[in-house]
Amino acid sequence: MTPGVFEYHRPNKVEDVLALLAEFGDDGKVLAGGHSLVPMMKLRLAEPAHIIDINAIASLRGIREEEGMIVIGAATTQAEIMGSDLLNEKCRILPDAAALIADPQVRNCGTIGGNCANGDPGNDDPAIMLALNASYTLQNQAGQRQIAAREFYEAVYTTALAEDELLTEIHVPAPAKGTGMSYQKIKRKVGDYAIAAAAVTLSMSAGQCTDAAVALTNVGDTALLSLEAAEAIKGSAVDARAIDRAADAAMADCEPVEDMRGTVEYRTAMVGEMTRRAIAEALSRVAGS
């Protein structure tokens, strides 16, 4: 399976990427990890005339903390996310989730920016970014804008990213002390997309939940933020009854379709179970985080 003919570009600077995107429009595709794009090209479902490989651009990689924000370069690989001391200490939901994505070889290539930006509802990072209330830095030749992850996803493979824009950074508010987080994913086998998955962050103070977010993977056209599930645990002691109410709310909010990963009923039930598990684990992690 060989992709169609294209011209290959490997710019060294972000400005050069932006110039190429402006020039080629819909004919140009950005190649980061390539493990979504190249399979599509092999099937001729994507036939870009120009491939813009961003792997030579060092400024698009790396993880740093500045002014209460964890800033992740869009071309940082999932393997680098897993190995990041900063993330493992301050935002472990990201390395935890990376370990559940694909397999070691794919994680050596696949990037967090690609996972967030390509719009596949099966991707794991979008729900986590919704739960963390992250934002994305989008650049084009005219400048840059910051958009909340919660406003980025529109439909399957449809996002707020314009043709001439490049996702350059992901900004995650550094979780405050007293915050716990967890990502729970059920899949058929190692490397598969989720049957259902839930990302939960919650903050506790004096035995009460002061803030929470619940987001779901692969049970709708996009990752879904379940405001009702979060409301069910906010203000509670996050006891079994509150957790059950949150799970019921998440199940009511999800919109899975029947496919080879299961029936609507099964996937809905798994949304409930993943939500329960993620809340319980996030709660258990509050003290240490």
């Binding site: 390539g34 493990h35 190249v38 090209m41 092999k42 070691p104 070889q105 794919v106 290539c109 490397g191």
Partner: protein
């Protein structure tokens, strides 16, 4: 056809070639260079039969373009043995019956090589997770895990003796 000159190191030898941009690394190795150790299995980046080591990382050569390996250092299963002396991993797969049909073996060996470079004394669980991108339809994996364990022990003993 747009083509590009690339230069890289493969199993210690410098290689220069003209490649079409759309040529996948696995086709470049097998068809242009006759390096046929890395196999084409699923062609969808699932099975790992095409695994090679690029700049110290395991990758699937069916999902990378040859032009992306420009300037890189590549290791395939052909580069593991030292002359007639098998690499401890190859010896382990031989001694522990870590293969039956052997189609997956070059990818298993190349991936296990990098796993032991990164983690010289892995647990059985770490071996299984480390090889989770490589599918074997014959062995049931038990003997592959034993073979990697065998190699790790042999390498660690040799290093302990030095």
């Amino acid at each position: 056809m747009p083509s590009k000159k690339i230069s890289l190191t493969i199993n210690g030898e410098a290689v220069e070639a003209d490649v079409e941009a759309r040529m996948l690394l696995i086709h470049f190795l097998r068809e242009q260079l006759n390096i046929t150790g890395p196999h084409i299995g699923c062609e969808t980046s699932h099975c790992g039969a095409c695994t090679v080591d690029l700049d110290g990382k395991s990758v699937k050569a069916c999902t990378i373009f040859a032009v992306q390996a420009d300037g890189g250092e590549l290791l395939t299963v052909e580069g593991l043995a030292n002359g007639a002396e098998l690499h401890p991993l190859q010896e382990g797969f031989f001694q522990c019956h870590g293969l039956q049909c052997s189609f997956c073996t070059p990818g298993m060996l190349t991936r296990a090589y990098r796993l032991l470079q990164d983690n010289p004394n892995p647990s059985d669980e770490e071996i299984r997770m480390g090889l989770s991108g490589n599918l074997c339809r014959c062995t049931g994996y038990q003997n592959i895990v034993k073979a990697v364990r065998y190699a790790a022990d042999k390498i660690n003993q040799a290093e302990g003796a030095n």
